[in-house]
């Protein structure tokens, strides 16, 4: 194999491929990235039995072939190369990378030992890359990070015809996003649980793609694939029963409050400076105003008040400031609307843009019970 490739294209491709490499590979070969050159392009792939990635870039291929080299080392090298075309040549058990007057020789890993990668399933439909990236980011924040509850580390994806619902919860908050897509068949129906971290990474990297193809494998294969911008990734699905989240969404509320989102984010950040170790920020909604308070007793305390348009009963409610900020950021709207029932029941946060409540995204946040 011998190829010539643009330095930036190579660095991007290697970085993307190397990101999913396992830190502690179960097989030594899995720490490698597979290079394959054919036609007028090369592909780089990686796999850790959970996630596979494959990226294709243009290249002058002098001779076709493939090689397996250490992904981390390759990423470090690609990132540091000078801005000149790169020549990569595989000979025997060595790969030489030459760029300008710099040259590296790397040992190869035995490519014959590399496991077969999962096939990309057939396309089930497409959606806009930017929409996909923002929708996944909006729900991924609510996914659990505690691997003792693996089901909650996933994003639930429900497909029914041209509608897609994404949902994630760590039991303290729940984020639900509805969006539409273009299914290959209008009768498509599916319910899946995808590892949140993998999906968030994939969606982010497809953000600049015009269209992203979603590929659902037949039921038994427990696999999903995404493709866009000459990149593709597959992920194993999670097992387990996702909580019945629809019943958690409250049907009614006794207080509505609308606040300027950016001002509230700033205020929460300020007041939360004194909220140590999981202590909450208290919000008191009264006519025309929301008061914020954090810190109690002998500890440092902070207060701030903001304008708010409040309808219904006054309410005092406390939240983990981190969770509140996650939601306020995720609604991605100039104004934030809160809907409350009681100070021990979940609040629903949604965005308002041009006086319209954007109901396609809801962030349900469970309060902190105050003491004393």
């Amino acid at each position: 194999m011998k190829i010539r490739v643009e330095r930036d294209a190579l660095a991007d491709a290697v970085a993307w491929s190397a990101r999913t490499l396992p830190t502690r590979p179960s097989l030594p070969v899995l720490a490698g990235v597979v290079f394959s050159a054919a036609g007028d392009s090369i592909t780089l792939s990686s796999f850790d039995y959970e996630v596979s990635t494959r990226v294709e870039i243009d290249a002058d291929v002098e001779s076709a072939g493939s090689a397996l080299v250490s992904g981390r080392l390759l990423a470090d090298i690609a990132r540091s190369l000078p801005a000149q075309p790169v020549v990569i040549a595989a000979e025997g058990s060595r790969v030489t990378i030459t760029c300008g007057r710099a040259s590296f020789t790397l040992p190869t890993l035995p490519i014959d030992d590399y496991p077969a990668m999962p096939e990309m399933p057939q396309s089930s439909g497409t959606l806009d890359g930017d929409t996909f990236a923002s929708a996944v980011a909006q729900v991924a924040i609510a996914a659990g990070r505690d691997d003792t509850l693996p089901t909650l580390t996933g994003i639930r994806m429900e497909i029914d015809g041209d509608s897609v619902v994404l949902a994630a919860t760590d039991r303290y908050r729940l984020a639900v996003r509805e969006l539409s897509w273009t299914p290959a068949s209008s009768s498509t129906q599916a319910e899946l649980l995808i590892p949140a971290k993998t999906l968030a990474d994939a969606a982010k990297s497809f953000g600049s793609a015009e269209t992203v193809t979603v590929a659902l494998a037949p039921d038994g294969e427990r696999l999903i694939g995404f493709e866009g911008d000459r990149r593709r990734t597959t992920s194993r699905l999670l097992d387990g029963e996702f909580p019945k989240y629809r019943s958690l969404l409250p049907n009614e509320s006794s207080t509505h409050a609308v606040v300027d989102t950016a001002a509230l984010i700033e205020a929460v950040k300020r007041v939360a400076l004194v909220a140590e170790r999981n202590t909450p920020v208290r919000l008191t909604f009264t006519q025309g105003e929301v008061g914020l308070r954090a810190g109690t007793g002998d500890d440092a305390q902070a207060e701030e008040a903001l304008e708010a348009s409040v309808t219904g009963d006054d309410i005092e409610i406390a939240f983990n400031p981190g969770y509140l900020l996650d939601g306020l950021t995720a609604i991605d709207a100039g104004q934030a609307q809160f809907a409350f029932t009681q100070s021990t029941r979940p609040a629903v946060l949604s965005g308002i843009v041009e006086d319209q409540v954007r109901s396609e995204y809801r962030y349900l946040l469970m309060p902190v019970r105050l003491t004393g």
Binding site: T169, P280, V368
Partner: protein, 414 residues
Amino acid sequence: MSRSQVRRPRGRVDFGGDDTGCTIVHVDMDAFYASVELLEYPDLVGKPVIIGASTGNRGVVLSATYEARALGVHSAMPMSRARRLAPQAVILPPHHARYAEVSRAVMSIFDSITPIVEPLSLDEAFLDVAGARRRLGRPGAIASLIRSRVRDEVGITCSVGVASTKFVAKLASTRSKPDGLLIIPTDKVIEFLHPLPVGSLWGVGEKTEQQLDRLGLQTVADIATTPLATLERALGQAQGRHLHDLSWGRDLRAVVPHEPDKSIGNEETFDADTDDHEWIRSRIAGLADHVGQRMRRSGLVGRTVALKVRFADFTTITRSRTLEVPTDVGADIYATAWALFEALGLQRARIRLVGVRMEGLSEADETPAQLLLDAPEHGRRDAELAMDRLRQRYGPGAVRPGRSSLGEHPPGDR
């Protein structure tokens, strides 16, 4: 074992009774667990008695009477070794609930002396008696009062050190053991400290001691006469300055009343080293359940779960993870502790001991509780509270989590 050539001076000393400015009192019960047991078995008084697991050979000595200590037995020594050293000793199993009860009685005596009491453990506390002088007299008199009240009201003896700083007071109580009182007058601190081996200083463990030994520093006087810059270079800036200060009797730490428990943990040494993960899992489950019980009994919740694993070769590792929200539920503690164990990725390593510990503790009723979206009306915590009630009524073995019941002995041992 100390590598130092300097032995701790032994025997009673007296630096005179000038207690001016010596407002810090350190009280340490003598052979606490053993003394409490002897309250139940008065016929064993004057005999070598060892407190520790009476079955199996792999536990450690928790406490021993001075008669047993005279034979070479000491705390934390493997039971097997203690038995060899003192074959005639009576071995009694520990009764932790009883020790806690006696400890409460002792601490309430301290509380009646001064509000500024800093318990260090069940059997040891610092008292700042500066504010009690007008009511109870000079520090030396207060120390004697504490000793006689503990003896009369609780029936065990203690040793008391009186000094102007915490670490000197503690060294003094150790030096006066058993059943003694030692006042270190402010102008005799240097005379008292300087002949002591470096290992007596607070913060000098085996490792630092070896480091100091390599520098030829064996006594506190050696440290005191070494230039500060040399100590800082050898031990790091903080540690160097710290030891230099201590060697001149400088210790600015105040007595902090009611320091809450920093952690609650339990560990278990297996009867035989094992690599059977299912069995280890059952032991971790049992330990987590026990830690949860203790947390609920003390009204505490904790944020960080720590797992300790000691291998057959005594290498010991600890791993910890901080939870999203504080807990006192055994099942949550177990889930995290087991996840920590699994994350070690051990294959065939033979394990001698596991421990589960909760850190980052706070009072449950003062800790804001992050509510759950899908909390069942009666959750796991309610189940564990019900288990607590059953155990209170029918004894500690009445009920336990299913996953903790794979038996008491490692499979290789059966």
